[in-house]
C-alpha cells in the first residue's frame, strides 16, 4: 500500500500578519478551537470512508496554519490518537507542527514533543524588530530567541525555521545578519522565502505604492545567491528551491508534495491529492463547519489531471528539488512521445546552462533556480 501524508490546517491566529494570505481567523477562544477540532475529526472519518483510506500507512503528519501551536498539547495528543483509529503510523513517521513563538514556551514545546510531535517548524521570518513590526508579526525578538533556545534544551533533532527576505529597505548586510543570527541556533532545516504579496493582503497596496523601497529582482538575485553559497558552506544541502537542510534533516512531508505523493488535507482550505485527483476544501470557516454539521462534503474544487498536465506538473515539481527528474522515471510513467518532447526541452535548457544533466538525471542549476518560473514555462506545453 502506498504511503500517505496528512495535512491538518488550523485556521486561527492571535492576530493576522500583514503579509499572510493563508486562511486564518484572529480567534483565540479555546472552546471555538475545540469545536473546530471536532469538525475536523468528522471530516477525517468522512474522507477515510469516501476515499477508502482505511488502514493506510501515514508517513508524515503536518499540523499547519494558522497557528496550530495555539492548541494545547492534550489536543494534539487527542488528534494523533484519533488518527491512529483510521491509519497506521509508519515507524519513521514525521510529525511536524508549525510554531509561532508568541504562543509557546520551553515547557509547552516539551509537552508537544511528549504528545508525539517530533518536528517543529518555527515561524521566525526575521530577527530584526523593524521587519517584525512591518510584517505585523505578533512575536518579539525575545520570544523568538526563547523558543529557538528551547529546541536545544529538549534535544529536538529535527526542526526548522522560516526566514523572509526582500523586505522594504532591507540591505544585503541586514539580510546577512538575519541568516547569521539564525545559524547561532544550528537549525537542522531552514526555509527561505522572498516576500510575495497577494492582492488580498494589507501590505499589497503599500507595496504597489512603494515598489521602489523593495529590493529589485536583480538585488533579490544577489541576496539569494549569497544565501545559497553561505548555507552550503555551513553544510546545508539546498534540497529544494526554498529549503535547506543538514543531511538527513529534509522535510519528508514537503518532499511528498514535490515527488507527486498522495496526501490527505483536512480542515478549512486544505488541499488533497488522492488517486490523481486534486481537491480543495472550502476556504470559509462558516461553510466548513456548517457543511460538516449537515453531513455534506466540504469540497469546493476538484480536478482530475490530464496525462499531459500530470507529466508537466511532475517534471516541474521534481525540478524544484535537488534530486531533479530522471528520464527513465518519466519514460516508465508517461507516453513516450510526450516525454521525448519534454526531454528535448530539458536538453536544450541544459545546453543553455539552466539545467545540469548528470547521466539521465536533470536538475536545475543555480542560475536555473533563480529563474525557475521561466524554465517551468518552457517546459509547459
Amino acid at each position: 500500500m502506498k504511503e500517505l501524508s496528512l495535512y491538518f490546517h488550523f485556521p486561527f491566529c492571535l492576530k493576522r500578519c500583514r503579509y499572510c494570505d493563508f486562511v486564518s481567523y484572529p480567534r483565540r477562544d479555546r472552546s471555538f478551537h475545540l469545536e473546530y477540532e471536532k469538525a475536523v475529526f468528522q471530516e477525517i472519518a468522512w474522507k477515510v470512508e469516501e476515499e477508502s483510506l482505511w488502514g493506510r500507512e501515514l508517513s508524515t503528519v503536518y499540523l499547519g496554519g494558522g497557528t496550530p501551536s495555539l492548541l494545547f498539547p492534550e489536543d494534539v495528543e487527542r488528534m494523533l490518537n484519533y488518527l491512529q483509529g483510521f491509519f497506521t503510523f509508519s515507524p519513521s513517521v514525521e510529525i511536524t507542527m508549525e510554531v509561532n513563538p508568541e504562543t509557546v514556551n520551553g515547557d509547552k514545546i516539551k509537552a508537544f514533543q511528549e504528545a508525539g510531535v517530533n518536528r517543529f517548524s518555527v515561524g521566525v521570518q526575521s530577527f530584526n524588530p523593524r521587519f517584525l513590526y512591518f510584517l505585523g508579526r505578533s512575536s518579539s525578538l525575545g520570544q523568538i530567541e526563547n523558543v529557538l533556545s528551547s529546541m536545544e534544551k529538549i534535544h529536538c533533532s529535527s526542526w526548522s525555521l522560516d526566514l523572509l527576505y526582500s523586505l522594504p529597505f532591507q540591505s544585503l548586510p541586514e539580510w546577512q545578519q538575519d541568516i547569521e543570527h539564525a545559524l547561532i541556533y544550528h537549525p537542522p532545516h531552514l526555509s527561505i522565502y522572498n516576500l510575495t504579496l497577494s492582492p488580498v493582503v494589507p501590505l499589497y497596496s503599500f507595496a504597489r505604492r512603494h515598489s521602489r523601497v523593495f529590493p529589485s529582482p536583480d538585488e533579490e538575485a544577489l541576496y539569494f545567491e549569497w544565501t545559497m553559497e553561505k548555507l552550503e558552506q555551513e553544510g546545508y544541502i539546498h534540497y529544494e528551491i526554498s529549503n535547506f537542510a543538514q543531511p538527513g534533516a529534509e522535510c519528508s512531508h514537503n518532499l511528498t508534495y514535490w515527488r507527486g505523493g498522495e496526501y490527505l488535507g483536512v480542515g478549512v482550505s486544505a488541499w488533497s491529492y488522492l488517486g490523481g485527483r486534486r481537491q480543495k476544501n472550502t476556504s470559509s470557516l462558516k461553510n466548513y463547519l456548517r457543511r460538516l454539521e449537515e453531513g455534506k462534503s466540504p469540497l469546493t474544487f476538484q480536478e482530475e489531471l490530464e496525462a499531459h498536465q500530470k507529466l508537466a506538473e511532475d517534471i516541474m515539481l521534481r525540478l524544484r528539488t535537488k534530486e531533479g527528474v530522471q528520464s527513465s522515471y518519466l519514460l516508465t510513467r508517461y507516453r513516450r512521445g510526450e516525454v521525448e518532447t519534454k526531454l528535448k526541452c530539458l536538453e536544450y535548457l541544459s545546453q543553455e546552462g539552466f539545467i545540469i544533466k548528470e547521466g539521465e538525471r536533470f536538475a536545475l542549476s543555480k542560475k536555473g533556480i533563480l529563474v525557475a518560473n521561466q524554465i517551468f514555462q518552457e517546459i509547459l506545453d
Binding site: 508534495y257 496526501y263 488535507g265 533556480i369 509547459l380
Partner: protein
C-alpha cells in the same frame, strides 16, 4: 436638399420640428449608427434622412432630404459625392471654436459645385460662445459679407425652426429635367447581410421603381430592383423615386464594387448615354499591414476585411507576409483616421485582434537600373547602393489656429519638413496657415502634436498635391543581430539617426527581460546607428510551493505561458506586440 450638418443638428432638425423619431427610440444621436461613431462623436459614413415639413409662412408642405456628411479630411471624397447630391448646404460652425480647417475645405467644395450655402452658427448656448467672431471668420473664408446667418443651439432647439424656414426660402427645389432617361447618383451604400449592398441614391432624372432592371455605369452590370424607399430615418419602402428624391435601392447587389460611391445608376433597357459627371475611383494614400494576433485567426481576418469592404469601398487590401508576424494583409486607407477606424471595427465587430504595422505612404524609388519602384512597405525598399533617387507624396496642409498659438504651430510644421505657403488672418484671433508637408510626416503623431501646441484649438485639413523628391533611407531594427521585419521604417535621412535611437530605447522598455541578454540595434544598410542592451532576467521564481499551491501555481504558469505564446519569437527572443506598435508611435 441640405448637407454638411453636424450631429446634434441633424437630429434636432428632424426630431424637434418634424417628430419623425419617437423620443424613446432615439439612442442619443440616431443618425450616427455605428457605436464607434457615437463614441468618437464623429460621422464616418454619410447618413441620410427624409422629413416632411409644413411651413407656416408659405402654407405649403415640403419634403426635405438631409445628408449628414463626415467632417474629417480622410473622407473628403464621400463629402464631395454627398454634395453632388444636394442643392444647398448648411455650413455649421461652432460658436465657441470658430472656423476649422475642414470648414474651409468643405465650403470650397460647395462653392465649386455651385451650391447655396446657409451658414449656421451652432452651440450659441455655450458660455464660451462668440458668435460675432465666428460670423466674421465665415465671411472671411467665403469672401462674402451679409450672409444669411442663423444662430442656433441644436441642444436647446433655439433657432432650429428659423433655420428650416431659411432652408425652404433660400435653397431651391431640385431642377426637374424632362428626360427620357434614368440617372441617379450613388452617394453612399451599406451592406445588409440579407439584402446585399444597398446603394443610397439621389435621382437626377427619370424614375426608379420596383421590378425595374437597372445598370451601373462604371461596371455595366445590371440588377433587378426589388425595393425602393426613403429614410424616415428608418428605411421605408415607397412605390418609386422621382427626380430630386433621395432614397435607397435594394437590387440584390452582392459586391460593393458594383455599387461605388459616385457612380451613376441608369435603366438597363433605356440607358442614358452619359453618366453624372464627377465619378472617380478613390486611391488609398496610407498603407499599413494587419496581422492576426493569433495566427489561427488569419481566415477570420480575411473575412472581416472582406465584410468591411462591403461597407467601405475606399478600403483596399492584399495578402502580405512578414517573418516576424506571419501572414497578414497590406491595406490601403484614405488616411490615418480611416486606418484607426478600420482596425477598431475589425476588433469590435468581428472580434479579430490584429497587430498593425506602422502606417506608411507609397514612396517612388528610381533605381540605378532606371526602374521606377512603387514602394509600399519598408521591406520593398531597396538597399542604399541601388537607389538613384527617391520621391515621397506631399499634401497641402491648411491649419486654422488662434493667433496666440501661431508660433508653436509654425515650429511644428517646420520641424516636420513643412514648406510655408501662406498665412491669412480670418479674424483678429484666428489665423489660417498653409504649408506643403510630406504626407509621411503627418502619419505619425502630427495631429496629436498640433493639438498639444495649440491646447486643442488648432484644426487641420489636407489635400494630396503630388510627389516630390526626398532623401530617404530604410532603418532596420536588429534583435540579437537578426532583422525584424515589422520593426523597419522608412525615414528621411536627416532624422533617421534620431528616430532609430528613439525606437531602440523605446523597445528596451517594451521587450521584457528574458532568459538571455538581448541586443537591440538600429541600422541603415550595414551601418549601425543606435544600440541598446536588455540584460538577462536574473530572478523569477515562485519560492513557496506546497500542497495547496500546486494547482494555483500551475495555472499561473500556464497563464504566463499563454501570454508568451502571443508574443512573436525572433530566434530565442520573444517580442511583445506593443513593441511593433511602438514603431507606429515612435516619437519625433
Amino acid at each position: 436638399m441640405v448637407s454638411l450638418l453636424t450631429l446634434t443638428m441633424a437630429n434636432q432638425l428632424s426630431l424637434e420640428i418634424c417628430r419623425v423619431v419617437p423620443k424613446e427610440k432615439m439612442k442619443e444621436q440616431f443618425l450616427d449608427h455605428m457605436d464607434l461613431e457615437r463614441e468618437r462623436g464623429i460621422t464616418i459614413k454619410a447618413k441620410a434622412v427624409r422629413m416632411e415639413y409644413f411651413s407656416p409662412s408659405t402654407g405649403e408642405k415640403y419634403i426635405l432630404n438631409l445628408i449628414d456628411t463626415p467632417g474629417h479630411a480622410d473622407f473628403s471624397y464621400e463629402v464631395s459625392r454627398s454634395l453632388a447630391a444636394c442643392e444647398g448646404v448648411l455650413l455649421v460652425v461652432d460658436a465657441s471654436q470658430g472656423v476649422e480647417a475642414q470648414t474651409l475645405a468643405h465650403a470650397r467644395l460647395a462653392i465649386s459645385q455651385g451650391l447655396v450655402i446657409l451658414p449656421v452658427i451652432n452651440k450659441i448656448d455655450l458660455p464660451a460662445a462668440d458668435p460675432e467672431r465666428a460670423m466674421r471668420e465665415v465671411e472671411a473664408i467665403l469672401g462674402e459679407d451679409h450672409l444669411p446667418f442663423t444662430m442656433v443651439s441644436a441642444k436647446l432647439g433655439t433657432g432650429v425652426e428659423e433655420l428650416i424656414e431659411k432652408i425652404v426660402r433660400f435653397i431651391p427645389p431640385p431642377p426637374v429635367e424632362d428626360s427620357p432617361f434614368l440617372r441617379a447618383l450613388i452617394f453612399d451604400s451599406v451592406y445588409d447581410s440579407y439584402r446585399g449592398v444597398i446603394p443610397f441614391i439621389r435621382v437626377k432624372e427619370g424614375e426608379i421603381k420596383k421590378g425595374m432592371e437597372i445598370m451601373m455605369f462604371s461596371t455595366r452590370k445590371s440588377f433587378s430592383v426589388s425595393e425602393v424607399g426613403v429614410f424616415t430615418p428608418q428605411r421605408t419602402e415607397v412605390d418609386s423615386l422621382g427626380p430630386g428624391e433621395v432614397g435607397y435601392v435594394v437590387a440584390n447587389i452582392r459586391r460593393l464594387e458594383d455599387s461605388q460611391v459616385g457612380d451613376t445608376i441608369t435603366s438597363a433597357s433605356h440607358p442614358s448615354p452619359s453618366p453624372i459627371p464627377g465619378y472617380k475611383k478613390v486611391k488609398p494614400l496610407v498603407f499599413c499591414s494587419f496581422y492576426p494576433v493569433d495566427y489561427e485567426d488569419y481566415s477570420r481576418l480575411k473575412e472581416s476585411l472582406e465584410r468591411l469592404q462591403l461597407n467601405d469601398a475606399s478600403l483596399s487590401f492584399e495578402a502580405d507576409f512578414s517573418e516576424a508576424l506571419g501572414f497578414g494583409f497590406r491595406c490601403g486607407f484614405l488616411g490615418l483616421l480611416h486606418m484607426e477606424i478600420t482596425q477598431e471595427r475589425m476588433e469590435r465587430e468581428f472580434g479579430v485582434e490584429v497587430v498593425a504595422t506602422a502606417p506608411h505612404v507609397v514612396y517612388h524609388v528610381l533605381s540605378k537600373s532606371g526602374e521606377i519602384l512603387e514602394v509600399r512597405s519598408p521591406r520593398d525598399f531597396p538597399p542604399p547602393s541601388e537607389i538613384e533617387e527617391t520621391e515621397e507624396p506631399y499634401v497641402e496642409m491648411s491649419i486654422t489656429v488662434p493667433a496666440e498659438y501661431l508660433g508653436g504651430v509654425m515650429d511644428l510644421c517646420q520641424s516636420r519638413r513643412g514648406i510655408f505657403k501662406d498665412m491669412v488672418y480670418l479674424s483678429e484671433k484666428l489665423v489660417l496657415l498653409k504649408y506643403d508637408l510630406p504626407l509621411a510626416e503627418i502619419l505619425l503623431d502630427f495631429y496629436d502634436c498640433l493639438k498639444a501646441v495649440s491646447r486643442g484649438y488648432a484644426s487641420l485639413d489636407y489635400e494630396f498635391i503630388g510627389y516630390r523628391p526626398a532623401k530617404l533611407v530604410r532603418v532596420d531594427i536588429l534583435v540579437n543581430r537578426e532583422k525584424v521585419d515589422g520593426l523597419s521604417f522608412i525615414s528621411p535621412e536627416e532624422s533617421a539617426y534620431y528616430r532609430g535611437r528613439a525606437l531602440v530605447s523605446r523597445l528596451k522598455e517594451l521587450i521584457p527581460r528574458q532568459l538571455f541578454p538581448i541586443s537591440l540595434q538600429a541600422a541603415i544598410g550595414g551601418k549601425i546607428i543606435a544600440r541598446e542592451d536588455i540584460p538577462a532576467l536574473r530572478k523569477d521564481v515562485l519560492q513557496k510551493c506546497y500542497g495547496g499551491d500546486i494547482t494555483r501555481k500551475r495555472k499561473l504558469l500556464e497563464k504566463q505561458k499563454e501570454g508568451k505564446k502571443r508574443m512573436k519569437a525572433v530566434g530565442k527572443v520573444r517580442i511583445p506586440q506593443e513593441a511593433f506598435l511602438a514603431v507606429m508611435k515612435s516619437e519625433k
